[in-house]
């Protein structure tokens, strides 16, 4: 129910980047649905700090019409993929999605997320904030990495690094 408003306010988008064909195939195992808490057995992680400190135990997520699939970027289910890494299109089967990003669990009910998806990037800070509110409504405590206001086009881009302390609320 919590993502109903989001799905009304924002449209689906086709993937922005076309990658390896293996990355267009949906994965059969390893996927959790963020829209169906409580979650179990998630790997706790840390978001990337800077170019020297990449994220640890990174999950990727994508918002689809009726679910928010998420998978640990590198896990047993992704071993067969190029670089052993899942891409957002492995969650969407290469089809349209609302938005995608990355996340790092602090515990099973708390995580930091970003809109770092080359394929389904959030289109504005408002979209990212809307996603955060919807996740909170599902019972999670969350914080996001923010928005690069100096970036690319007029809307900017989601940040992929953490330069300040974040508190999940």
């Amino acid at each position: 129910m919590s993502f109903v408003g989001y799905r009304i306010d924002f449209s689906m988008q086709p993937r922005a980047i076309k990658g390896d064909i293996e990355h267009d195939k949906p994965l059969a195992t390893g996927i959790i649905d963020l829209e169906k808490p409580p979650l179990e057995n998630v790997a706790l992680g840390t978001p990337p700090q800077d170019r020297h400190k990449p994220g640890d135990n990174t999950y990727i997520w994508a918002i689809l019409p009726s679910s928010i699939p998420s998978i640990k970027e590198k896990c047993a289910a992704t071993q067969h993929l190029p670089d052993n890494v899942a891409k957002h299109t492995n969650l969407t089967g290469g089809c349209d999605a609302y938005c995608g990003g990355e996340l790092w669990f602090q515990n099973e009910k708390e995580f930091i997320f970003s809109g770092a998806s080359g394929r389904y990037p959030p289109r504005s800070l408002e979209e990212l904030e809307h996603i955060a509110s919807s996740l909170r409504a599902l019972g999670y405590k969350v914080a996001h990495l923010g928005w690069d206001i100096e970036a690319d086009n007029i809307q900017g881009k989601a940040k992929r690094y953490q330069d300040k302390e974040l508190i999940c609320i």
Binding site: A16, I17, G19, P48, Q49, D50, R51, H52, A116, S117, G118, P121, D148, I149, E150, A151, D152, N153, I154, K157, K159, R160, Y161, Q162, D163, K164
Partner: protein, 488 residues
């Protein structure tokens, strides 16, 4: 030829077809990238990000972040928490410059600078770059590398000089905050000019000429006094530069910038300072004060010649500490209260510009002493005090030579002498928003050439020349015909 499809996507197929290395492909690439404080993106049209040429992006970050912009939409280049504030604050403190002094100098409020240093408020890469340049650190790596390749030795040298001058522990020209900032900016210009010059020299297939001069740490003794050492060094230098013994040097600026090829930076310093020879990250350059007595180009030539001696023969000293000269160090006088290194440079400058033998011939060819002095000033383009000094010391027993009661002699240069040295007076209009004098001259030429050759983007060129888009176009319009560039 580079046939990897990923590299072709980054740099363009045509560039990769013509290139034999990634470096070459980056240089030939028509692609642009954008950076923010922490991320890199592929350029896709109108944008507010900081625009970089493919070569700049490749040179700064390597190939992997560029590839990642294709596969992930962006790449993290951020160097560490607290950047760029931590680096800028440390550098400012190392240089002993207050936040108020820096703010006033770059026309920003102290609160804005405080926010940047503390990492408060919205990030502002362009302002961070501007501050980095003013503090003499490498703006290319601001927020990317902690310290941004600033030369700690240079900052320590400036700070020590300031302290020595204030405490009177050494005979040193005093430095105010503005002079410190002008000198630290000059350190950035030295590094950047040498980098661009090296890139462009490779393009032309030629290396910078090498001047095999005997570096000497000998400053004279009772058998071979300092001024004799200086005379021999001047003679040697003229020979190395293929300047005939009696030949006047028409333009010291041209000699330094185009023949010897080192950065010569004109800027505003405290008015008692004549010039300085500085080293930053192991690279040397000369700074000339526009203010004070140098406003007379005949004095300015003496200053440049004096600094040339430091540049050529005192470089091991300069690598350890900055040399800042007051006019008292430069102009010939009977004042002996100067350092050995300055005594030698002072005698060198006079002899280099006006060798005594040649001076004597010119002086004796005139009917009166007044005419002789003025003729020496005109032929060799030297100041009145330098002319009198060289005339006196061209005689076997200088102490016994005396000038008769001299009539009035103009100390002012001729229009030709001004045109040869104070080139910006006629070359550029003094518009508001025009690049500051420190960024003009050879530096300006190299920036425009580098942009023309895709080494830097048009935005980088504007940042380097501290001007807006409209002014940059007008600067180019004046420079391009003068340096014979085509295709702009």
């Amino acid at each position: 030829m580079i046939d990897d499809p990923s590299f072709q996507k980054v740099f363009g197929a045509e560039a990769c077809l013509k290139a034999y290395s990634l470096n070459e492909a980056a240089k030939l690439s028509p692609q642009y990238f954008l950076r923010s404080t922490g991320q890199l993106y592929l350029y896709q049209g109108v944008s507010r990000g900081r625009k970089l040429s493919a070569y700049e992006a490749f040179e700064r970050f390597g190939i992997n972040p560029l590839l990642e912009t294709l596969t992930e939409g962006s790449s993290v280049i951020y160097g560490g928490r607290g950047e760029p504030g931590t680096t800028l604050k440390k550098r400012r403190i190392d240089l002993d410059i207050s936040i108020d002094e820096l703010a006033a100098y770059i026309h920003e409020s102290p609160e804005t600078l405080q926010n940047i240093e503390d990492g408060e408020g919205d990030p502002n890469l362009r302002l961070a770059e501007r501050i980095a340049i003013q503090l003499g650190i490498d703006e290319r790596f601001i927020a990317v590398e902690i310290g941004a390749r600033g030369d700690a030795g240079f900052a320590a040298g400036l700070k020590q000089h300031k302290k020595d001058a204030e405490t009177g522990e050494a005979i040193r020209a005093k430095l105010d905050g503005e002079s410190l900032l002008s000198l630290s900016e000059a350190a950035w210009i030295v590094k950047t000019q040498m980098r661009l010059s090296n890139l462009l020299s490779k393009d032309k297939g030629m290396e910078r000429p090498s001047f095999a001069t005997p570096l000497t740490s000998f400053y004279g003794d009772k058998d071979y006094p300092a001024h004799e050492v200086a005379y021999d060094l001047a003679k040697h230098t003229r020979k190395q530069l293929n300047i005939a013994p009696h030949e006047p040097i028409l333009s010291m600026r041209d000699l330094c910038e185009n023949t010897i090829q080192f950065p010569l930076i004109f800027t505003n310093l405290e008015k008692k300072i004549g010039g300085a020879t500085i080293a930053s990250n192991g690279l040397l350059g000369v700074v000339v004060n526009k203010a004070g007595e140098n406003s007379n180009c005949l004095v300015q030539r003496m200053t440049i010649a004096h600094e040339l001696c430091h540049y050529l023969y005192d470089n091991s000293t300069i690598l350890e500490k900055i040399i800042i000269d007051s006019y008292n160090d430069i102009e010939p006088s009977s004042n002996k209260n100067i350092l050995e290194i300055e005594r030698r440079a002072r005698a060198f400058a006079a002899e280099f510009l006006a060798p005594r033998e040649a001076v004597k011939d010119v002086f004796e060819s005139q009917n009166t002493q007044e005419e002789g002095i003025r003729r020496v000033m005109d032929v060799f383009s030297i100041s009145l005090s330098a002319a009198k000094h060289q005339i006196q010391f061209s005689f076997p027993e200088p102490q016994r030579f005396s000038f008769s009661r001299l009539g009035s002699i103009s100390t002012q240069p001729t229009q030709d002498q001004i045109a040869a040295e104070i080139w910006w007076a006629s070359y550029f209009l003094n518009d508001s928003g025009w690049p500051p004098c420190s960024r003009l001259g050879k530096f300006c030429e190299l920036v425009i050439q580098a942009q023309n050759n895709n080494y830097i983007s048009d935005e980088t060129a504007r940042i380097y020349l501290a001007c807006d888009e409209d002014v940059y176009k007008r600067v180019k319009a004046q420079i391009v015909p003068a340096i014979g560039l085509s295709g702009l």
